[in-house]
Each structure stands twice: as structure tokens, then as C-alpha cells.
């Protein structure tokens, strides 16, 4: 059985690299996108189990992405966790996210959020393959 797939959407290339490294080291599969438009293309390829979404991005921001996602019946229920440096949790609620992580968040907080969604009841225990 495949490990859970996490789609990471952020316009900062170092943030993308770091989060993907953290998740891969814990056994998750990851896909990455630099903005909402790329993320929609990624989702067309393979449905992720959870989306980690930045809000402020060029081309298509996080809010517009979430709105576009909700219009697609096959993928509208994919859980979103907002990862943002804007310090405004209310914006996460506005895109229907089930979680919010304010940068700079702890690695353990990230893993707990992702594990809680992809492995309900398993807490922060990583999938490790």
C-alpha cells in the first residue's frame, strides 16, 4: 500500500524543499507546486491525501486555489492545512481549511497535523512507508 501523498504548495523554493525533505524523511510521498495553478495541475495527475497550502502566492493565490478546488466534485473534499507567514488564522477558515500552521512552525507540529489527517487516531506517528 502506498504511503499517504502530501501536496505542498508554496512559492518560496526553500520552504518547498524543506517541507518536502521533512515529510519524505518521515516516509510520506510528496508532490510540490509553486502556486495554485500548478497545484490544480498536480491534483489532476494524482489525488493527494492532504494539501499544505500557502496563501500569498503569484499566478494563483491560496484563496483562489481553494475556491477552484471546491468546484471540482472529485477533489473538493481533500483536506487543506494552511501554512502561512501572515499570522492571521482567520484567513485559513476563509478557505475552508481544517488546520493552520503559522510560520515558523515546529517540525513536530507539522508532522502531527499531517499524521492526524492521513492516519486518524495515530497521533503524530509517522507512516514510514
Amino acid at each position: 500500500m502506498n504511503s499517504p501523498l502530501v501536496l505542498v504548495v508554496d512559492d518560496d523554493p526553500d520552504i518547498l524543499d524543506a517541507i518536502c525533505d521533512i515529510l519524505e524523511a518521515e516516509g510520506y510521498r510528496v508532490s510540490r507546486a509553486r502556486h495554485g495553478r500548478e497545484a490544480l495541475d498536480q491534483i489532476d495527475g494524482e489525488r493527494p491525501d492532504v494539501i499544505l497550502l500557502d496563501l500569498m502566492m503569484p499566478v494563483m493565490d491560496g484563496v483562489a486555489f481553494a475556491q477552484a478546488l471546491r468546484l471540482r466534485p472529485a477533489v473538493r473534499d481533500i483536506p487543506i492545512v494552511v501554512i502561512s507567514a501572515d499570522g492571521n488564522p482567520q484567513r485559513a477558515a476563509s478557505v475552508g481549511a481544517i488546520g493552520y500552521l503559522a510560520k515558523p512552525f515546529d517540525i513536530e507540529a507539522l508532522l502531527a497535523q499531517v499524521a492526524g489527517i492521513t492516519r486518524p487516531g495515530a497521533g503524530a506517528a509517522p507512516p514510514r512507508g
Partner: protein, 263 residues
Amino acid sequence: MRKVARLATVNSQVRCESLNVMEPLDSRGVNPGPGQGPSVRSGEARGGHLGFVAHEIRNPLSTALWTAELLARMSMEERGGARGEKLSAMCLRSVARVRQLIEDHFLSERLDIGGLPLRVEAIGVKEAVEAVIERRPSDAGPASSSQLDASLGVEADRTLLERAVESLVAVAGSERTPVVVTARATEREVELSFAGRPVDAAALEDPLKGAPSDPTGRALAMPLARRIATALGGALAAGEGGWRLTLPRARAYTARPTSAARP
């Protein structure tokens, strides 16, 4: 002759449409204070700008913290491997971004508040630009100052002048775009032009929360250069051919002899 001035005494000026037409702000009934542009006048804009700065710093700070933590969890052997080297490079790059943003932000703040000691002297523009270009990172794109006249000087504080030139070269030369620095002079002014990436005049304003990030950490470079230009009694403007930095001309400047010309 060297002069020591304080920023509060620098005469603020605004850039007019053509070169050599600079009008003191006081004569227009406007006196916003040293280095202050329209975007920092209201509390709302000020808050929006500080929100942007915080956002810009949090992104590389996040990467720096995460990669440092991941490296700390590794064994010595793992740190020397490919992943360790990648994380080390990311950590250093991120810390450098944070440092650049903090330095740009706090210098801008000091210029806004006033009272920053200035050491004004006659400085050769070619010499100053070349010093900046020599310090450019090896992976930055090419920059040329070959068209500059070595006998042309400006009255400026060397540190601030080089910070402004460095900022302008970095912005004009982002994404490895070749930069060409040229100059022209009138009796009273020297105008330095930085041609490279297409110019967006909006970049002169303080970016507000929600504005696009700069993954290189230079999001505050243009507002800083604008403040420096004002503090030095000059101006920064967007021109068709590039960014234009206008500064008071040094009348008594004598170019330093080159090493080849020395006995």
C-alpha cells in the same frame, strides 16, 4: 574637504521630470521628514508595511530553523552526506536572506527616524560602483561599469552610497540579468543609471502586506535605495532605461590614481 553632517540637516528634495530640476520639498509646502515617502505617512500604511516585513522574514526564518533542527538530529556521518550538505546550504542561504532583510529594514528605519550620522565626502562614482560590483556573489549575473567616467564625483556618505548602488545593482540584475551602470552629469548633479531588468516604478514604494514575496531576500532593496537617495540630498526615479539615482555633484573631486599610473 570632508564634512560631517547629520541626517536631520539634509535638505530633502523631490525628483522632477527632467534632470537637474530638483525642487526643495519645503518650497512645495511639503515636509514629510528625511527619507519618508508617501507610503509611510499613515499609520495604516505603516502597519501594512511592517506586516509585509514580518512576512518576508518569517519565510527564510522558517527554513533556517527547520534545516538547523534537521541537521542537529543527524549524525556526523549523515551531515557529511548529500542530504546534510543540501540542508546546510539551505540553512546558510536562509540565514543570509534573514540577515539581508533585517539590515535593509533597520537601516530604512534609521533613515526614517533621522539622526543617523553621515560622513559626506567627495567620492568617485566609478570607484564606488566598481567596489560594489567586485563584492557581488560569484553566482550573480554580470555587471558593467566600464562606461563610467573616472573623473566624476558625488558628495555622499560612502557607506550609504555603496548600499544604494548595491541595492540597485541587485534589483536591476536579479535572475542573473546583465546590468550596465552609466552616468551623466550636469554642473550640479550626477545621474547614475542602472539598466537591467524592466523597471517597475511601483517598486519604489514601501511594499505592503499581501505584496508578492522576493525569494532572494531583496524585497526591501528599492525602498532602502530611495531613502538613501533622499538622505544624501538626491533622488531615485524609474526611467525608461533603468533606475536613475541622482546625487549632488562633487565639484572638487580628483580621481584617485590607478595602480598602473602610480610611479
